[in-house]
């Protein structure tokens, strides 16, 4: 596959692993350890899929952050979706949401009890469903970061253009840069650098991280999701750390531009406005979410059907919040792989396709060793 396989070349990977090992040695010689937070759930999954964590030296710690939009969504959101399913709406959703626990139930259970839940690959399928069922309401579960927010607002624009009236969104949009700030200001979390997301960055642009790098003096290196991209990104972070630099570096230049995607940003701005948002496990982060502007409230399912999204009930003992913040490794959670497994998840980190716990469970070696020192 062009532009994919090239970035999975084992010989290049081996060379990067050696370079990173040498950088790790240099850090260790200075008595330093580096905590890199990889923010994006797709990075968490790719790191798991390619077995990258054990290839890194002892002095480099890769922590998973809150970049799983499903994991940071409150269980109350699922409760609202279930309430709408109960009102005979067709619930159109990405596959990622199907088994995320609400306060009492989830969408998979709802479907098996007769709820009309349809898994879509693309938000565009929601328009087809609305046109195909003009007598029913279609509610699209619009959860995601900037990468997904842009396509979803295109959905709204297309619905307006086509005069589709029976489609609405239950939104839980979140923004990455405010979350990075919130994490950096939490004294309990140690972050020395960020491995910045590939495709969120494609939308918002490399320069979006400059205020963070400047204010908090942390290197921010944007990297793609292929294994060579990730290793190249880590290599770039360590080089900055060794040189005591703290700047934004775009190591995914084939896709990410300095100012991102202007059309996407304009469209997001037109339809959505910033709101405070509740991040499961973190709490309220000001202006970290987006909601439909009031002139488009006809597309807002929560308003249209008077089903507000209220905080739900989390299961006792669930430590997803600490995992999302990078404070706790999944394997250190008392419930991990015991009471909490992908078959019987307690929290969304275990069931979301890119949840940190799911990645550890799916890919994690029981005797995970650190990479060689040479």
């Amino acid at each position: 596959m062009k532009y994919i396989d090239d970035f999975r070349n084992p010989e290049v990977a081996a060379q990067f692993v050696r370079k990173i090992a040498a950088q790790g040695q240099a850090l260790a010689a200075q008595g330093r350890r580096v905590h890199i937070m990889e923010v994006c759930g797709s990075h968490t999954m790719a790191i798991g899929r390619y077995g990258i964590r054990p290839l890194l030296p002892e002095s480099v710690e890769l922590i998973s952050g809150p970049g799983c939009p499903v994991c940071v969504t409150d269980p109350g959101y699922i409760d609202a979706a279930l309430a709408l399913a109960g009102r005979e709406a067709i619930i159109a959703t990405f596959g990622d949401m199907i088994r995320v626990p609400g306060s009492d139930s989830d969408l998979a259970a709802c479907r098996s009890q007769g709820g009309d839940v349809r898994v879509c690959y693309s938000p565009g399928a929601a328009i087809d469903l609305a046109k195909g069922h003009p007598d029913r309401e279609v509610v699209f579960l619009a959860v995601g970061f900037e990468t997904t927010i842009a396509p979803v607002v295109c959905l709204v624009e297309e619905a307006l253009r086509l005069g589709v009236k029976n489609l609405s969104l239950l939104t839980a949009f979140k923004l990455v840069p405010p979350a990075l700030r919130a994490l950096l200001t939490d004294p309990a979390i140690r972050i020395d650098a960020f491995l910045c997301p590939a495709h969120v960055s494609a939308i918002i642009g490399a320069r979006a991280y400059e205020p963070i790098a400047d204010e908090f003096r942390v290197p921010c290196v944007i990297s793609g999701f292929e294994p060579l991209d990730i290793l190249y990104g880590v290599n770039g972070i360590l080089a900055q750390v060794l040189n005591r630099q703290a700047k934004v570096e775009n190591r995914y230049a084939r896709v990410v531009r300095p100012d991102g995607n202007p059309k996407a940003k304009a469209r997001i701005e037109r339809y959505l406005e910033p709101v405070d948002a509740v991040w499961r496990g973190i709490g309220v982060i000001p202006a970290s979410g987006l909601a439909l502007r009031s002139e488009f409230s006809g597309f807002d399912a929560a308003k249209k059907f008077a089903v507000p999204v209220r905080p739900g009930r989390q299961q006792a003992g669930c430590r997803c919040g600490d995992v999302i913040k990078g404070k706790l490794r999944p394997t250190a959670c008392a419930l991990f792989a015991k009471a909490c497994t992908p078959d019987h998840p307690v929290g969304p980190c275990m069931v979301s396709s890119e949840g940190t716990c799911a990645a550890y469970f799916k890919y994690g070696m029981p005797d995970e060793k650190r990479g060689d020192k040479q």
Binding site: P10, R49, D96, S122, P227, Y363
Partner: protein, 337 residues
Amino acid sequence: MSADRVIQLAHGGGGRLTRELIETEIVPRFGGGPLRGLPDGATLPSPGELLVFTTDSFVVQPLEFPGGNIGDLAVHGTVNDLAVCGGEPKWLSLALIIEEGLPFAVLGRILDSIRAAADACGVTVATGDTKVVARGQGDGLYVNTAGIGLAMPEFALGVNKIREGDCVLVSGTLADHGMAVLSARQNIGFINGPRSDTGPVHRLVLAVRDLGGSVRFMRDPTRGGAATVLNEIVGECELGVLLRERDLPLAPATAAVAEMLGIDPLHVASEGRVILICASEVAPAILKRWRALPEGAGAACLGSVTRDNKGRVVLETLAGGRRLVDVPRGELLPRIC
């Protein structure tokens, strides 16, 4: 027959319409051999050897998908289960549960496929049954096949025969069927996506019959994919399996759709492949014979049996790392995250 004639409940009632359904759809296709005269059961010659006996039910949506349909899937599925148990497939039963409203045209195509697949596999449909359920109770069509095969004495298969150093072979590319079916579903929207690999594997098994003494175990990686088969195997023995990502055979279209939907091909069903574990000395010969057959063109060695990582299946990735290959959890869902 008009293009929009559909099955009615009365077709399952046992009366005139049932007779008509059998006469027009079943007898012309399957009425020779043991089914002639439509006895309640087939009387078959027993050569006095051990028999292999299996059954499977097929509930696929959509009923017709790129590369096949529920009909040939049902034939191949049962033929293959017999084959991987070391049985030479001979006879099938065919039971249909038809939902009221299924067009005759669809039924006809599926039955034609069953006939063609059975002929190509050299098996006879010896007995069968049809039932009709009310609209809304059936998903179009469910098929059950049971199969009888003659046990080949050259094989003495068992998980307990597997040894450290054995090779894990597969007869062709992985995951084609599952990805074909998933990408053909509504709301997913692929055009010209992957094609199912549904097909028989018994000729592959027959081709290595004389090496049977060095073949430890066989299974076809259907529901749950290669990951499920291999995890089941290591779950039962005190050994591990190490796979090499560079050696996993994948058809380009399958790999592409798996990437787009975020699905691991090791978790996805094949319906025309064998996974075979053998002594390493015979692996080259098996691969050579398989590759000489059309259904074995993509045969490859996936990896080997190890003493390390007991009870686990591990993948050595393209990045040089190692990670666990777990069984898939729950249904196969496309993801965007």
